[in-house]
Structure formats: structure tokens, C-alpha cells
């Protein structure tokens, strides 16, 4: 039996996230004021959950085939006939815009002899769906359009050969799919998320940069590096002077939704530099420096956080005519990172608008794909730019090799990549055979495993 802790857990000494955002002045967004970290077990987590092929296969069958998962953004399939192929393990899903306000998804496999109807990792546009092998063709709505040499198939009826559908759900510009006909609706699955995102309209943003990196680790191992900042002072010491880490807030709201809140322009309690507000602002890490490129001066009595918030607010207004002045400082600049089980991270703040997604690389338990998307607001003229083309980089390629990538963020991510490889190898080399998690900072890693277990035991 796992022991469940009864006492309230300790928190990092020093300024908490709530203290820091209270000091910003002005209102504190009610959603950011929430704190929720329910009691959990403290048992070790076996490495077999990362290294065993049998466990990976169970995840594929009992979890990936049953959950809502992000497939693409609506702008990827903007016009009727546009399609986007999303792959997970051996599954391949063809997402198609079938009408102005309708997106459908199909299993990407021909009903004749199984050929993928569209190649993996591809996107494009076609007014019907034709298999490249013998030319079996479907209308966008999945009904049969043509079976060449129909005389040779008198044993089949068109109405029995509609493309099998995969469920589609949409929220805030995101297109989700679910292969399980019995699963609850997307809105139910997303729990508190739609309510929390009342003031962050992600449909006003588009994908400006999309990097897909092959990572040398199990998908959970890789994404867990993004669910705690306990490692930051050691693995990314350069960050500690400008952003929070061990004082981050970790919240768990329901089975599928957790988040962390990390203050920007606010040194970690572990920082040994005593930077001035001006130095903080100058060194500030943002997702893309080209958004806020000019140097600003922090006036006497002001803070780097407030100056940064003003600057982002002005830039977004200038670039996109988007008024975000009603957002608080923390809502505007902080790293607000929501995790949607199993593998999606959405960062809604205009100062750090990102989407992360992790998933197995094919059926390889030891490798995964990490999609990182940097968002920009849709320009003021309302013409939505085409989403950035995905740039794929290999395990040994630096993030810095991608044009448009922020150098500082690229370095941090390269540091993470090596650690992932060493952790994967160390899990196999381990005598102990299990990981011991911290109670608070790594609570969301445990939550990921707890929710995963609920699917595996169904």
C-alpha cells in the first residue's frame, strides 16, 4: 500500500510565486491566485515504466488509443480540402477540413489493401482523398467517390466502405482527436482548462516557428524535464539569475490538467548574483527576442516585471492591434504552462506564447518527438499568415541551428537533450530500479503516472 501524506507539504523558502505576483501591484487574476496540490503517494516509481516494451505497448493500447490528443491547429487546415497527418505510434490520423465549419478525421489507411492515404508527416490540400496505390477515392466526407475497375468488386457495397472516422474536438484553435468512440467529450476531458483560459484567446495567435526535435528518451522521461524546475540551478545555472525555478508553483486540478507558474524577471532563491532591476530586464529571457527587441530603461521605483509587461502590451498592440492591457503583469509576462494529459503543454501568456508536444517516435520506447511551436499574434489586418513549416532536427542537431530560434532558449534545450540521454541510459544501468520523486516540485510527474495508471487499469 502506498502511504498518503497527511501533513501539509513544505514549500521553498524565499518568495513564493504568489508573493511575487502580489508585489506587482494591480489586480491578481483569480485563475493565477488559485493553488491546488492534493496529497499524493510517496512511493518510488519503477524505471520499467520507461524501459519495458510491454509497458510501452500497454500505453499504446490502453492510453494513446483512448485519450484526446492534440493533432494540429485549425490554421493547419484552414480551407476546405486542407489536410494534416498526425501520427502516434503505429496509428496515423488524417485530419481534413470538410466544410467551412467542419473538420473530420479518418484512420489514414486505405480500405482496399491498407496503404496510407497520405504520407506521414505531410500536409496539403485535395478535393478528394485518393489512395496512391490503386486509386480508390473518397469524398472529403468519407463516402466512396470511385473504385477503379468497379466491375471487379461486385462483392462490396459503397455504403460499407466509408472511411472509418476518428473523433474530432476543437478548443481555442486547437484540433484534438480521439480514437475511442466511448471516451467522454473533449470539453469534459479538458476539465478546468476552458474556464481558466477565459482571458487567453489562443485563436488570435498563429504558429510563427515550428521545430520538431528527435529526443533520445522515452516520451515521459523527456516531457518530465518540462514538468519540474528542480534541475534548473544545476542543469541551467545561467537561468537562475533571471527567472524563478525552485520557487515555482505547481498545481494539479484534475486528472488531465496540471500547470506550473514561473515568474519571469525575478531571480531564483538560488541565484548568487544580486542583479538590479535594469540588469534583470536586460537579461530577460523571452521566447523570441525579436518580439521585444529594443532596450528599455527601468525608471526609479519601477520593476523589470512591470516594464516588461508594458513593453509586451505595446508590441502586441502595434503588431496585431490586440489590446491586452486588461491582463495583469503576471498574466502578460510569466511562464504559465498548462499540461493537458498526456502530452500537450500550452503557454498562454503573450510574453511567452508557446505550444509543446511530446510523443513516442514511432513505436520506439527509447525515443520521442518534441514539437515546439512559437506563436505570434495574427496581424492587425486580420490576414492570418500560413502556419510555419515544421523544421525537423535530429538528436545531435543543436536547436541553435534553426533559423529564428532564440539563442538562449536553444542553449537551455540543448542542455536538456544530453541529460535526457544520460537519464535514459542510467535507468537501464540502475541497481535500484526506480526513481524517488520530491514531494512538491516533482508532484506533477507523479500525477502524470497516476493518470496514466487510471487508463492502464481500465
Amino acid at each position: 500500500m502506498n502511504m498518503v501524506l497527511k501533513q501539509p507539504l513544505a514549500r521553498c523558502p524565499g518568495d513564493s510565486y504568489q508573493t511575487i505576483i502580489g508585489r506587482d501591484g494591480g489586480h491578481v487574476h483569480d485563475v493565477l491566485a488559485l493553488q491546488s496540490n492534493p496529497p499524493q503517494s510517496d512511493a518510488d516509481i519503477p524505471f520499467a515504466r520507461y524501459t519495458s516494451q510491454a509497458f510501452f505497448d500497454r500505453e499504446m493500447e490502453s492510453m494513446w488509443a483512448k485519450v484526446w490528443q492534440y493533432a494540429c491547429r485549425e490554421e493547419h487546415v484552414a480551407e476546405i480540402g486542407d489536410y494534416y497527418v498526425y501520427d502516434i505510434g503505429h496509428h496515423s490520423i488524417l485530419v481534413v477540413r470538410t466544410a467551412n465549419d467542419e473538420i473530420k478525421a479518418y484512420h489514414n489507411s486505405c480500405l482496399h489493401r491498407g496503404t496510407k492515404l497520405k504520407p506521414s508527416c505531410s500536409e496539403g490540400s485535395s478535393q478528394n482523398i485518393q489512395c496512391p496505390y490503386h486509386g480508390w477515392t473518397w469524398n472529403l466526407d468519407g463516402t466512396v467517390k470511385d473504385i477503379p475497375q468497379r466491375w471487379d468488386f461486385s462483392h462490396l457495397a459503397d455504403e460499407n466502405f466509408k472511411l472509418p472516422e476518428v473523433r474530432v474536438g476543437r478548443w481555442n484553435g486547437f484540433v484534438f482527436i480521439n480514437m475511442d468512440a466511448e471516451a467522454p467529450e473533449l470539453q469534459e476531458y479538458l476539465g478546468v482548462l476552458p474556464d481558466h483560459f477565459r482571458s487567453w484567446d489562443m485563436s488570435r495567435w498563429y504558429i510563427h516557428l515550428h521545430i520538431q526535435k528527435e529526443l533520445p528518451a522515452n516520451w515521459k522521461l523527456a516531457q518530465e524535464a518540462f514538468m519540474e524546475a528542480y534541475h534548473t540551478p544545476v542543469a541551467h545555472p545561467q537561468m537562475t539569475h533571471v527567472v524563478g525555478d525552485v520557487n515555482m508553483q505547481h498545481d494539479i486540478f484534475d486528472d488531465h490538467i496540471s500547470r506550473d507558474l514561473c515568474p519571469m524577471a525575478s531571480p531564483s532563491p538560488t541565484s548568487t548574483l544580486n542583479l538590479s532591476e535594469q540588469e534583470l530586464l536586460d537579461r530577460m529571457l523571452v521566447s523570441d527576442r525579436s518580439v521585444v527587441a529594443d532596450r528599455r530603461i527601468v525608471p526609479e521605483g519601477e520593476t523589470a516585471r512591470r516594464v516588461m509587461a508594458n513593453q509586451i502590451c505595446e508590441t502586441v498592440m502595434e503588431q496585431a492591434g490586440l489590446d491586452i492591457s486588461s491582463l495583469s503583469v503576471s498574466e502578460t509576462i510569466d511562464s504559465i504552462k498548462y499540461n493537458v494529459f498526456p502530452n500537450l503543454f500550452v503557454f498562454p501568456s503573450p510574453g511567452m506564447p508557446l505550444i509543446y508536444q511530446f510523443r513516442p517516435h514511432g513505436a520506439d520506447k527509447d525515443r520521442c518527438l518534441f514539437d515546439q511551436m512559437v506563436l505570434r499574434p495574427v496581424p492587425a489586418n486580420g490576414v492570418r499568415p500560413a502556419p510555419a513549416e515544421m523544421v525537423r532536427i535530429g538528436e545531435d542537431d543543436s536547436y541553435a541551428s534553426v533559423e529564428g530560434m532564440d539563442d538562449f532558449l536553444g542553449l537551455v534545450l540543448d542542455q536538456d537533450t544530453n541529460i535526457m540521454r544520460w537519464q535514459r541510459e542510467g535507468m537501464y544501468a540502475s541497481k535500484k530500479g526506480a526513481e524517488t520523486l520530491s514531494q512538491y516540485q516533482e508532484s506533477r510527474i507523479r500525477h502524470l503516472h497516476d493518470t496514466l495508471d487510471k487508463y492502464l487499469s481500465k
Binding site: G81, D82, K118, P119, S122, E123, G124, S125, S126, Q127, Q130, P132, G135, A386, E389
Partner: protein, 116 residues
């Protein structure tokens, strides 16, 4: 080489293409972010017209099976199909002009595949 005046420039909006017969050559004129481009209107994958394919970032994706080509060079991207033949194209006096070879097009261009 012969330069032929084809259509009024204003009749081709951004990110659109139009299929034209220049002499006997089936040519697809595309308006990309970088300007006009002209390629043979026949995909080197399944030998079908490219007209109607989505044009983004200087590339066209074949509407039938998704083969993708760089419109500057005709090179196929992400697959090993033959490059598309390209043609000089220009906007002159608000008209689109295409330059074609003196030779007649090869016979295979006269038959359109029955796929589609």
C-alpha cells in the same frame, strides 16, 4: 524559344495558379510570395495536372497525392520524383508572358492519366 502573351496579370490573385496552354505546352502559372513562377502542369509522380494544388512558401503540393515541388527550381521535396520542367515567366505591361521552347512538347503530355 517563343514568348507568348497569355492572360491579364490582374486575373491571377496571390497564392493562386492557372492552367494555360502555351503553344502546345500545358503550363501552370503560379503567383507565389516571391512573384510569378511557371512549371509544367503535370505532376512527375502520377502524371496528373497540378492545377488546384495548394501554394505555400514558394512550393506547390499536388492535389492528388501530395507530392511537393519547389516552384523556383521544379525540384521535388521529400520524395525522389523527377523535377518539374520550369518556364521563364514575366509580367509585362500588366500581362503575363510565358516563354516556351521551340520544340513541341513530348507525346506523354498529350495524354492525361485517367487517375483523379
Amino acid at each position: 524559344m517563343a514568348t507568348l502573351r497569355m492572360i491579364e496579370a490582374s486575373s491571377l490573385p496571390p497564392s493562386q495558379s492557372i492552367s494555360l496552354l502555351a503553344g502546345d505546352w500545358p503550363v501552370l502559372v503560379c503567383r507565389t510570395e516571391k512573384g510569378l513562377r511557371a512549371v509544367i502542369d503535370r505532376c512527375s509522380h502520377a502524371d496528373t495536372p497540378l492545377a488546384g494544388g495548394r501554394i505555400r512558401r514558394g512550393r506547390i503540393a499536388c492535389p492528388l497525392h501530395g507530392a511537393m515541388f519547389d516552384l523556383d527550381t521544379g525540384t521535388c521535396i521529400g520524395a525522389a520524383y523527377r523535377p518539374l520542367q520550369t518556364f521563364p515567366v514575366a509580367e509585362v505591361d500588366d500581362w503575363i508572358e510565358v516563354t516556351i521552347p521551340d520544340d513541341p512538347p513530348p507525346a506523354y503530355l498529350r495524354a492525361v492519366s485517367t487517375a483523379r
